[in-house]
């Protein structure tokens, strides 16, 4: 005798909470063969703005945490992901229509991505910073500083990489102390919302990572022009939309990373793309 299962309601993740879209809109998520999986929340412009407010609120605490602490939290994400790996394998297998083996490889890659960036949180400043031998009695040091709120449109490829795309986008942004609003894979959003459950139980402070599901074309223009957003990662943007969003971002001189054809491999560049270099001249004097 089979038991009737309890399906999950997939909602947004904003400020550490799981609200439905304020618009009341949802969209149907299906397998590639068209079988119904879930009704996901369709984030509105207001939801996106709420997510920016939450991310801005979380920025002082997260950027002010020690780099060691941030590394520990990112590692904790990997730990909790590992513990729930089978759930993600199943979810990805269904929603992306890939083999168990491919789904497992994606989950393992995602976990390893979090571990890689976790280990860089307290080291990247040593590589990206500089002591500068200026001509004068000054102790001059350049250090990277997180830039603030970054909005990331996760990779949208069709080849079954929704969780890896989210991980590869979000982990480097938050490793340095930024907070993020992540816009998930549009048609395969389930693993992103399940990942939000992982963030919610991994000591990631509320608001540091916010996850929106829905139509990127309805969310991204507002994020690109939002005056309280500092950076824009357009990894998942198509070649048609990206220039428009980049143009909108130019009005507030946001730092923009352009579309990426592949899932960005772990790299220092992914971290430094969203930091500012701060150079301080300290005057030296004995008296």
């Amino acid at each position: 005798m089979s038991r009737l299962t309890i399906p999950k309601t997939y909602k947004l993740f904003i400020g550490g909470k799981f609200p439905r879209s304020e618009s009341g809109h949802t969209f149907e998520v299906s397998t590639p063969k068209g079988e119904f999986l879930a009704n996901a929340a369709a984030a509105s412009r207001k939801d996106a703005r709420d997510a920016v407010v939450a991310a801005r609120g979380a920025f002082p605490g997260w950027s002010g945490a020690t780099a060691y602490n941030r590394g520990q939290v990112l590692y904790r994400v990997a730990e909790v992901l590992e513990g729930r790996a089978e759930q993600f394998v199943e979810e990805i297998r269904q929603s992306e229509g890939v083999s168990v083996r491919a789904a497992r490889a994606q989950v393992e890659n995602s976990i390893d991505t979090w571990v890689w960036y976790a280990g860089f949180a307290d080291k990247y400043a040593q590589v990206a910073g500089n002591g500068n031998p200026v001509s004068g009695p000054y102790f001059n040091l350049s250090t990277p500083d997180p830039m603030g709120v970054v909005v990331a449109l996760c990779p949208q490829g069709s080849n079954g990489q929704s969780l890896l795309g989210l991980s590869a986008s979000v982990a480097p942004i938050v490793a340095s102390g930024n907070t993020v609003v992540a816009v998930s894979h549009a048609s395969q959003p389930l693993s992103a919302i399940s990942a939000a459950e992982v963030f919610a139980t991994s000591d990631v402070p509320g608001g540091v990572i916010n996850v929106l599901t829905g139509n990127p074309a309805g969310i991204m223009p507002w994020m690109a022009s939002h005056a309280d957003v500092n950076g824009l990662d357009l990894a998942g943007a198509d070649q048609v939309s990206a220039p428009d969003w980049e143009k909108a971002a130019a009005q507030t001189l946001k730092r923009v990373q352009g579309p990426s054809h592949e899932i960005p491999a772990p790299s220092l560049h992914r971290i430094t793309a969203f930091v500012e270099t701060k150079t301080v001249w300290h005057t030296q004097a004995l008296g």
Binding site: N130, V134, N140, P243, A249, L253, S267, T277, W281
Partner: protein, 485 residues
């Protein structure tokens, strides 16, 4: 005669040999512009200096093609050490001709000879020396084993430090293996044209450096040219925005050094006399035509009156006048347009209720001048507290706690510079940590060095110039596309 009176001590202009007109420097030689020509005048006397060509779109195209040809045929094929030797040669020639360049800069820009001679030209030479040494060490730039040059760099520099900004742009670009097309500001083309002669004296291969003169239209054509790989711009935030927008959807890299409204923060335990000197150099250096100027003075409330009194007394001793005079502290405002902008913002400050004080120095009859000016009773919402004035105008505000100072200092869409004056090291470090600015000076202000990265947060632009970071801005890792801006 009081102790402040002095006999005139003008630097001679006999050292200059300025031609009656200059063409564009393209492909290693001066050629006639196909567009119009325009005059450059001395802002201190309004006298005609020389006539220069105005590059039109066809000229821009010719210059970009010359730079591309030089990149493909010559410069990208040279070893790093050979490129470096050219830069060392340029640095030496700049040192040899530094007095001539200083005089030229002073008459074309209006800034005091004391500054062009002692600040601008030594830094110009230092910039070329510093980056010359990088040319054969690119694998240490932090981009992996074989970083690649980007190609042709389009560079647009402002009028406030004409030759120094040229050096900031050209030295790292050439060291990294790029070729350049550079446009100086329309009011200060002279030293860039002299630099073209220096390139000839150094035997720099033709087309590696191209100098085209013109105004905003020339710059817009250059930035929009499909043959460029990099834009480096120093100038206003509105123009920076339009450049960023015009590059949307392309893979042209950009460095933008834009406006600022720097906070200079003075705590009550600071060495006040030193702080006064820092306040003065922060906003009255170069007539306040400095993007990283300390134009907002934040003083701890209990020392406000003392600081204001000492500052006013000090400002009364500044000598305003002939920029060629070796005793001059404050030179001419660079142009009539800039003088009008300063005057309009100062009028707005008075209209909004801030209290204006100006030193009572006598302004010369001819030329463009503005007295050192301090606003008190300034609210954070006043235009003089929010907008970049780019002139010798200081807006003074107060704070009680370090937290309030941080909140007020960071209350701006800009984020270029900040200053901290305190004798307490732990507080100074905590302040530096909390301030959202790309360059922070602790117990000093307006210091520059080729080894030190410079550039801003937020709407002060993106990218860094100077140091290893400034070199990386002209390179791409060979194993991955750096992407982004």
């Amino acid at each position: 005669m009081t102790f402040l009176d002095y006999a005139p001590a003008p630097e001679s202009t006999a050292i200059l040999d300025i031609k009656p007109s200059y063409g564009l420097f393209i492909g290693g030689e001066f050629v006639d512009a196909r567009g119009d020509s325009f005059a450059t005048i001395s802002p201190s006397t309004e006298e005609h200096i020389t006539t220069v060509g105005e590059a039109n779109a066809a000229d821009v195209d010719r210059a970009v093609k010359a730079a591309r040809l030089a990149y493909d045929k010559t410069w990208s094929k040279l070893s790093g050490s050979e490129r470096g030797k050219y830069l060392f040669r340029i640095a030496r020639i700049i040192q040899e001709r530094s007095r001539e360049l200083a005089v030229a800069e002073t008459i074309d820009n209006g800034k005091p000879i004391r500054e062009t001679r002692d600040v601008d030209m030594p830094l110009v030479a230092a910039w070329f020396f510093y980056y010359a040494g990088w040319a054969d060490k690119l694998e240490y730039a932090g981009l992996g084993p074989k970083p690649q040059a980007l190609g042709v760099a389009a560079q647009i520099v402002p009028w406030n430090f004409p030759l120094l900004m040229l050096a900031w742009k050209i030295a790292p670009a050439l060291a990294a293996g790029n070729t350049v097309v550079l446009k100086p500001a329309e009011t200060t083309p002279l030293t860039a044209l002299l630099f073209a002669e220096i390139c000839q004296q150094a035997g720099l291969p033709e087309g590696v450096v191209n100098i085209i003169t013109g105004a905003g239209g020339t710059g817009a054509s250059l930035v929009a040219h499909p043959g460029i790989n990099k834009v480096a711009f120093t100038g206003s935030t509105p123009v920076g925005r339009s450049i960023a927008a015009s590059l949307a959807g392309t893979d042209v890299r950009a460095t933008l050094e834009l406006g600022g409204k720097g906070a200079n923060i003075v705590f009550d335990d600071a060495a006040i006399d030193q702080a006064i000197e820092g306040i003065v150099s922060g906003i009255f250096f170069n007539q306040g035509h400095v993007c990283c100027a300390g134009s907002r003075l934040l003083v701890q409330e209990n020392i406000h009156d003392d600081v204001l009194h000492r500052l006013q007394r000090r400002l009364q001793t500044l000598r305003l006048g002939d920029p060629l005079d070796k005793n001059t502290d404050i030179g001419a405002v660079n142009s009539k347009a800039q003088l009008e902008r300063i005057s309009a913002l100062v009028d707005a400050g008075e209209a909004e209720g801030a209290t204006r004080w100006s030193s009572d120095c006598v302004l010369p009859a001819k030329g463009f001048w503005f007295q050192p000016t301090v606003f008190t009773n300034v609210h954070t919402s006043h235009r003089v507290a929010q907008e970049e004035i780019f002139g010798p105008v200081l807006s003074m505000m107060t704070f009680r706690t370090p937290e309030e100072a941080i909140a007020k200092a960071n209350n701006t869409p800009y984020g270029l510079s900040a200053g901290i004056w305190t004798e307490k090291a732990s507080r100074m470090l905590a302040m530096a940590n909390a301030l959202r600015a790309g360059v922070i000076w602790a117990n000093t202000f307006n210091k520059f060095d080729p080894a030190s990265p410079f550039g801003g947060y937020q709407e002060s632009g993106y990218g860094r110039e100077g140091g290893r970071h400034g070199l990386a801005a002209y390179l791409e890792a060979s194993d991955q596309k750096a992407g982004g801006r």
